[in-house]
Amino acid sequence: MKRVVEVTINGERQELTLEPYRSLLDVLRNEVGLTGTKKGCDVGDCGACTVLLDGKPVNSCLVLGVEVGGCEVVTIEGLQPDPERLHPLQESFMQHGGAQCGFCTPGFIMMAKALLDENPDPTEDEIRFGIAGNICRCTGYTKIVTAIQAAAKELREAQS
C-alpha cells in the first residue's frame, strides 16, 4: 500500500506517494527524476548513491523512501549554490582530475561535502578515511584526494 511522504529535496518541498519497499535511491532516480545519484551496487557497498539526509551522508540505497518524511535530502543536483556557479568541490574535481568515468563522482562529491562540513581542514588520512566507503575504479583515488584538499582550502579561504 502506497504511503504519502512529505520531504524537502534540494530545498524544494515535495509530496510523494511511495511504495513502502522502494529505496530512497530508486525514489530519487525514478520518481523525482534526479538521476545524478547513481546505482552501483544497490546493497550499500560502493557509495555511488551517497546523498545528504539532514546533512549526514547516507547510502540512499539503504534508506527507504518512506523513511525520509519530514527530512531534508540534498543530492548532487542540489549542490550548486546557484545555476551560474559550481560548488568548489565540483570545480576542484574537474580541475584536478578527480573524475574519470564519472559514475562514482556524485557519491564522492556528496561524501566530501559531508566531510568538509564537519571537518573543514582534514588531513590526508582523514580524507582517505572519510571516503573509504566510496569505490572508484578509474582514478586510484590520488586525484580525488587532491581535489578534496584543494576544495577544502578554497572553502576555508572563502570563510576567513
Binding site: 547513481k38 548532487i76 565540483q90 582517505r128 566510496n134 575504479r137 578509474c138 586510484g140 586525484k143
Partner: protein
C-alpha cells in the same frame, strides 16, 4: 603529483590540461548514462540465470510467470531467434569466436541466462523469474584447464577446434631455442599462475531498447563498441543497419570488457518488440560478475637461458588461458599475450605456445592488459630471479636486455626509440635504486620492507589481430568555430577532450572553439570501438587528418581573400596571417562568414587512419611492507615511469596511470573472482567479498611521463596509454615482496595466508 618530462616544444593546446568537456555533467549530475534514460511506458526486464554449470534444458515452463500480474512477456530459447553469433563482434577478426546464441538449449556455466521477463516494475520482473520452472539434464562439467583437456572430458562446444580448445594453439618461434639453451650459463624455469580478477566497472551493464512504428530499433547501451553492437544486433535480429540506432553518451567505465554483448542487449530488444513498449534492463552488481567478463586465468610455464653476462639467449614458454564457458576474446588474448613474450627483453631464440581452453566457468573476455598482464608477470618475476642468480642487479639485467630501436616487436614491426631503457633509467634515478638495493634484507621484526621493479610494453592498437580504422569528420561553422564528429566512445578517459585538443591544435583555433559530437551511430562516422589503447593514437590521428583537410580548404579560401598563396598562410588563435608579414590578416570567422548576398563557406574534412602499431613503455618501481605477523602486504609507494610519445592532456594521462596501478595492486594482492571447483558456482560476486583497493589501501603514486620516443603514426607523436599501467605493477610488487622477505611468489593474488605459510616454511637464518 606527476611530472611530464618533454623534449617536444611548440604545441599550445596539445600538452595542456584543458578543462575536460565531459566533466561538467559528471560533477553536476546532469551527464546522461544509458541507465538514466526514462521513456514513457517503459517496462523493466530481468534475466533468469541457471544454477547448474553444464546441462541440457529438458523443459522450461513459463506459464506461471506469464500469469503473474504485471508480467508482459517472457522469452526462452524456444521463442528467440537461433543465430550463432560472435560474443564480441569485431569485424570477423580472428581475435574473437563465434559460439553464442541469445539463449541456447544448453547452459555452459553457473549463472548463464536461460530466460528473460519484461514487467511493469523491476520487482515484479524479479519475482516472476522464480515462477519460471526449468528442468535440467545435468552434464559432466569441467572447471579447470587441466580437467577440460583430460581425455574423455565433456566437450563444451561443438564449434571449437578440438576437444575444449577454442582454436589451434598458436606458436611464435624464431631462432633455435635448443641451441640457445645449450649455450646458456644459467637456465631457469618456473610455473606461474594468475587469478581471475574482473574489471568491476562502477556502472553495471545496462540498456534501454525502443522500436518505432517504422520498425526501427533504438538502443541506449553502456558499450565501448557502439557500431559493433549495431552490427551484431542487426545481424542476429535480421535488420538492415539503418534500422538500428545505438546511442552512448557517457559510460561508467568498461576497461575492455564492455566490448562484448552480454545476452541482455538482444533480450531487451526482443522484449521491447514483443511488448511494443520500451524496455530497460540493468544488471545487478552480482550479475556484472556472473554474467560479465573477467580476465583470463592463466597458467604459464616459462624457461629462459642466460649467459653469465646476463644476455638472454633462449626463451621458451607454454601458456594456457582459461576462457570460461564461451570464447569471447579468447583467441585475441592468447595471441597477444603469447606473442608479447617475443619481446620486452630481447632474445634471439624463442619458442612460445599459447592455447585457450573452454571450461564451465564464467566467461573471460577483454580486459585492460589483454593477455599480457599474465605473461609479463611471469617474465618479469623470472628476470628478477635470474638477476639474483647471476649476481646482477635486476635493473642492470633488465637494461642490458631491454628492447631497443630496431628490434622487432610482437606485432612484427621495428621498435622506434629507446622508451623502455629511458623508463628504467629514470626510475632508477628517481628512487636512488642503487642505494636502496644495498640495504640488507631484514630477517627479524614484524615489518619488513623491500623495493621491486617491473617493466612492460604495450601496443597502441589491436593490429595485426584486427585491421583497425579510425575515422573523423571536422566541419567549420560560419562563425569560425568547428565541430568534430567521432564514433569514439567516452569510457571516462577524457578521449573526446583529447580529440578536440588535437583538432584545435591542428586548425589553429582555441580549444573552446571545438565542439565534439559522438555517441550516435546514425550521425557520426563508423568507429571500431574504444579499446586496445588506441583512441588518442588512432582516432586522434584521424581527427588530425580531418582537421588538416579542413584547414587546407580554409587556407585556400583565405588565400583568395587576402590575395596570397595559401602556403604562405598560418592560423593561430583563430587568426589567419601571412607568415612573416605584419598586418595582412583576417580572422577565421571573417574568412568563413557570410557577406551581403553571399552565403558562408561550407567546409568539411574527413580523416581515415588505418594504423599499424606503436609501442608505449613503462617501468614501475614499488616499495612494499610485509607484516610478518599477519602476512599482510602493503604497497607503500609507487613510482611509475611511462614513455608515451607525446602527452596530450597531462592530468588525464596521469589519471590513467594511477587508475591502472590501483587495478594492478588489486589483482596482485586481493582481487580474485572465486569459482567453487566442485560445482562452478560463483562465491564472491559482490563488492564486499571481491576486495578492490579502497582509498585507504592506495599508496602515494609519483607519476613520471616521458616523451622520448614519439611515434610518427600518432597525432603529434602520441601513443597509447590505457592498458600500460596495469601490466608492470604486478611483477614489481611480487619482486618487492621477494626483496622484503626472500619468498618468491609466482602467482597472483598473493594472499596473507600464503605469505604467513611461506614465512613459516623459511629456514631460520638466525639459527
Amino acid at each position: 603529483m606527476s611530472v611530464v618530462a618533454s623534449a617536444i616544444v611548440g604545441n599550445t593546446i596539445v600538452g595542456t590540461s584543458v578543462k575536460r568537456t565531459d566533466l561538467i555533467g559528471k560533477v553536476t549530475g546532469t551527464a546522461q548514462y544509458a541507465g538514466d534514460v526514462k521513456l514513457a511506458g517503459m517496462l523493466h526486464g530481468r534475466i533468469k540465470r541457471c544454477t547448474v554449470a553444464h546441462a541440457n534444458i529438458k523443459r522450461i515452463d513459463v506459464s506461471r510467470a506469464l500469469e503473474f500480474p504485471g508480467v508482459k512477456a517472457v522469452l526462452t530459447h524456444e521463442n528467440v531467434p537461433r543465430v550463432l553469433h560472435y560474443g564480441s563482434p569485431h569485424p570477423r577478426s580472428a581475435s574473437v569466436t563465434c559460439d553464442q546464441y541469445i539463449l541456447d538449449r544448453k547452459v555452459r556455466y553457473w549463472g548463464e541466462g536461460v530466460a528473460a521477463v519484461a514487467a511493469v516494475s523491476e520487482e515484479i520482473a524479479e519475482e516472476a523469474l522464480d515462477l519460471i520452472d526449468v528442468e535440467y539434464e545435468p552434464l559432466p562439467a569441467v572447471f579447470t584447464v587441466e580437467a577440460a583437456q583430460a581425455p574423455g572430458a565433456p566437450v563444451i562446444h561443438e564449434t571449437g577446434y578440438a576437444g575444449n580448445l577454442l582454436f589451434k594453439p598458436v606458436v611464435f618461434a624464431r631462432g633455435d631455442v635448443d641451441k640457445g639453451f645449450a649455450s646458456s650459463d644459467l637456465i631457469i624455469e618456473g610455473d606461474y599462475e594468475t587469478g581471475r580478477p574482473t574489471p568491476a566497472y562502477m556502472e553495471p551493464n545496462v540498456c534501454v531498447c525502443q522500436w518505432d512504428n517504422t520498425g526501427k530499433l533504438t538502443v541506449w547501451v553502456s558499450t565501448q563498441t557502439a557500431f559493433m553492437v549495431r552490427g551484431i544486433l542487426a545481424e542476429v535480429l535480421g535488420l538492415p543497419l539503418h534500422k538500428v540506432r545505438v546511442l552512448v553518451d557517457h559510460m561508467g567505465g568498461g576497461f575492455g570488457a564492455k566490448q562484448d554483448l552480454f545476452q541482455h542487449e538482444f533480450l531487451c530488444a526482443l522484449l521491447a518488440k514483443e511488448t511494443r513498449h520500451p524496455v530497460r534492463m540493468e544488471f545487478t552488481r552480482g550479475e556484472t560478475f556472473v554474467g560479465g567478463r573477467s580476465r583470463h586465468p592463466c597458467k604459464i610455464w616459462l624457461k629462459q637461458g642466460f649467459r653469465q653476462d646476463g644476455t638472454v639467449v633462449a626463451r621458451q614458454a607454454r601458456m594456457t588461458y582459461n576462457s570460461g564457458a564461451y570464447g569471447s576474446h579468447g583467441p585475441g588474448v592468447t595471441i597477444v599475450g603469447t606473442s608479447a613474450l617475443t619481446s620486452l627483453y630481447r632474445c634471439e631464440n624463442v619458442h612460445l605456445e599459447g592455447r585457450c581452453v573452454y571450461t564451465n566457468t564464467p566467461i573471460a573476455g577483454a580486459y585492460r592488459g589483454y593477455g599480457v598482464v599474465q605473461t609479463y608477470y611471469a617474465l618479469d618475476i623470472q628476470m628478477d630471479e635470474a638477476a639474483e642468480r647471476l649476481g646482477m642487479d635486476p635493473v642492470q639485467l633488465k637494461l642490458k636486455n631491454a628492447v631497443r630501436e630496431g628490434d622487432i616487436a610482437p606485432s612484427g614491426h621495428p621498435i622506434l626509440g629507446h622508451g623502455l631503457a629511458d623508463c628504467i633509467r629514470r626510475g632508477a634515478q628517481e628512487t636512488g635504486w642503487e642505494q636502496l638495493r644495498r640495504r640488507p634484507r631484514e630477517t627479524s621484526g614484524t615489518f619488513r620492507r623491500g623495493w621491486g621493479m617491473g617493466c612492460e610494453m604495450h601496443g597502441s592498437s589491436a593490429y595485426p589481430g584486427i585491421k583497425e580504422q579510425g575515422n573523423a569528420s571536422v566541419k567549420m561553422n560560419e562563425d569560425g568555430t568547428a565541430v568534430l564528429l567521432t564514433g569514439a566512445a567516452g569510457l571516462g578517459t577524457g578521449a573526446h577532450t583529447a580529440l578536440a585538443q588535437i583538432v584545435a591544435e591542428e586548425l589553429g583555433l582555441r580549444f573552446d572553439d571545438i565542439a565534439v559530437v559522438h555517441g550516435d551511430t546514425d550521425i557520426v562516422p563508423w568507429d571500431i570501438g574504444a579499446f586496445a589503447s588506441h583512441t588518442t593514437f588512432m582516432v586522434g590521428r584521424a581527427a588530425q587528418m580531418a582537421a588538416s583537410e579542413v584547414k587546407k580548404q580554409l587556407l585556400a579560401r583565405a588565400g583568395e581573400q587576402l590575395e596570397v598563396a595559401p602556403e604562405d598562410l598560418e592560423i593561430r588563435d583563430g587568426v589567419i596571417a601571412v607568415r612573416g608579414v605584419a598586418g595582412k590578416r583576417l580572422t577565421v570567422r571573417e574568412s568563413m562568414g557570410p557577406k551581403p548576398g553571399i552565403p558562408a563557406a561550407n567546409l568539411l574534412g574527413n580523416g581515415t587512419y588505418t594504423p599499424t602499431k606503436a609501442y608505449s613503455f613503462a617501468a614501475h618501481f614499488v616499495e612494499v611492507q610485509v607484516d610478518a605477523g599477519t602476512g599482510q602486504i602493503d604497497v607503500l609507494q609507487v613510482i611509475p615511469v611511462h614513455e608515451i610519445g607525446k602527452v596530450v592532456h597531462p592530468v588525464a594521462a596521469a589519471g590513467q596511470i594511477e587508475g591502472g596501478i590501483q587495478q594492478g595492486i588489486g589483482h596482485t594482492l586481493t582481487e580474485d573472482y572465486v569459482i567453487d571447483l566442485t560445482n562452478g558456482r560463483s562465491l564472491n560476486a559482490g563488492f564486499v567479498d571481491y576486495k578492490m583497493p579502497l582509498s585507504m589501501d592506495m599508496p602515494p603514486i609519483r607519476t613520471i611521463i616521458l616523451e622520448t620516443a614519439p611515434d610518427p603514426g600518432g597525432p603529434y607523436g602520441a601513443k597509447g596509454l590505457g592498458e600500460d599501467p596495469i601490466i608492470a605493477i604486478g611483477p614489481a610488487i611480487a619482486n618487492a615482496v621477494y626483496a622484503a622477505i626472500g619468498v618468491r611468489f609466482r602467482h597472483f593474488p598473493i594472499t596473507p595466508e600464503q605469505v604467513l605459510a611461506a614465512l613459516q616454511d623459511q629456514p631460520d637464518e638466525n639459527a
